[in-house]
Amino acid sequence: MFERLADTFFNWQIMGQYFPKIVEGFFLTIELALAVVVAGIATGLLLAIVRAFRIGVVNFLIVAAVDVLRALPPLVIIIMFYFALPTVGVRMSAFVATWLALALVLAAFAEEIFWAGILAVPRGQWEAARSTGLSFLQTLRFVVLPQAVRITIPPLTNRTIAITKGTALGAVVAVGEILYQAQSAYSFSYNPSPLTLGAIAYLVLFLPVVYLGRWVETRFAWKR
């Protein structure tokens, strides 16, 4: 019984055989995740800054886009980008479709989180800074954002982890990340051991990130 279990999920020979593929997927996942995080957070911050100017039409558009992106399941966005957009002549690789979809979703959540952070900075901070002659942008940059970002870091870290795990959705459109490699190895070998290997790869990748998130959360717990 135990032997059967071991042979099914921990078949060393099959694991060894597909190990290089999983490693390949591992690095592609890292690449994809980093690209999503950088683009998503930068765009989210930029949108929150634009929103701080409180230009009616612009803010309406930002809020509308953000709501749509937060409401749609990321997989739906990926599939639309990869399968639907080509019918109107916009083509992108599976990697780009996945990256763009996840980056946009992260940007939407990050914008909301940064915006909440900006709003949480008391009005008196703006007034004190403006009263010394700092411009709107200088006040935002040197007074408001440093405080807003600090409030923002714990929720943003959690959200970022959740969305980067969505890189596994790339498997659906054949991006060669961990899950895709594990799944195709499984279908070639008729043995689930590559899936075990894939799960281990995810743990190796994301457990440290989860620990980092926890550390960040305590480190930046608001002290005044």
């Binding site: 008391p122 008196g124 901070q125 007034e127 004190a128 800074a129 403006r130 009263s131 010394t132 002659g133 700092l134 411009s135 200088q138 040197f142 007074v143 440093p146 405080q147 600090r150 002290k223 005044r224």
Partner: protein, 248 residues
């Protein structure tokens, strides 16, 4: 339009409304060099709004405001340059919590006055020394008492070498035992010749330090005069009542 050449701050016919609520109903105020003008009046009479119009934290609806003869409501005025010359101190200190005392004072010196770091820090240390807090330069606001925070806030304003300082109830948020240290700094400023407008309930300070006291009521100046006159023999019984209510 004629205006008082000798005035540091000259407010004429100032009107300000919030929606349908008219908060300032034509205020005239002239502050001359080295003068300390004290503003009192019931809560909601428009004292804060008057100060906040003077550096355009609020935009007036009508009237004129001149700083050293320059109309600061003119359409093409560089308001950030103007604000550098008008120091403001708030009831709630409003220090930047993510910067230490030195950082709080240095920020505008660097970004607005454009001083290089070393010069800015030297000027900031001088300002901190002036409020008696040179040794607290590296302390963060949450490590300072309310009185110390307010003195850092004063240092932040005076470091920019303003031509006039506006104080909006600078001691109202302080525990009674800390009020004296802030008033002492304000007294020193006054003695060094700073032009000041002070909204406060510290009547004893007003009696000894103010050149002139202004009583505001319902968005208007009801009466003004030297402290002895306004406190001891005001024309309006309302003022007598008000003063009795806070001096008890």
């Amino acid at each position: 339009m004629s205006h008082d050449q000798a005035a540091i701050l000259e407010v004429r016919g100032l009107h300000k409304s919030f929606g349908s609520l008219e908060v300032l109903k034509g205020v005239d105020l002239v502050v001359r060099p080295r003068e300390l003008v004290f503003v009192i009046g019931p809560s909601g009479s428009g004292k804060s709004t008057l100060l906040r119009c003077c550096n355009r934290l609020e935009e007036p609806n009508a009237g004129s405001i001149r700083i050293e003869g320059v109309d600061i409501l003119a359409p093409r005025v560089d308001i950030n340059a103007v604000r550098q010359r008008i120091g403001m101190v708030f009831q709630s200190f409003n220090l930047y919590p993510h910067l230490n005392a030195l950082g709080n004072v240095t920020l505008a010196l660097r970004k607005v006055a454009g001083k290089p770091r070393e010069q800015a820090e030297a000027a900031a240390m001088q300002a901190l020394a002036r409020v008696g807090l040179a040794e607290k330069a590296k302390s963060y606001p949450n490590e300072l008492s309310g009185g110390q925070q307010q003195r850092v806030a004063i240092a932040r304003a005076i470091a920019l070498e303003p031509v006039v300082m506006l104080f909006d109830e600078p001691t109202s948020a302080l525990d009674p035992e800390l009020v004296g240290s802030v008033l002492a700094v304000m007294r020193e400023l006054r003695e060094s010749g700073m032009t000041m407008v002070v909204v406060s309930h510290e009547m004893r300070f007003a009696r000894s330090a103010a050149d002139r006291v202004i009583f505001m009521d319902h968005g208007r100046i009801l009466e003004e005069g030297p402290p002895a006159q306004l406190f001891n023999a005001p024309d309006h019984p309302r003022i007598r009542e008000f003063i009795a209510s806070i001096e008890h």
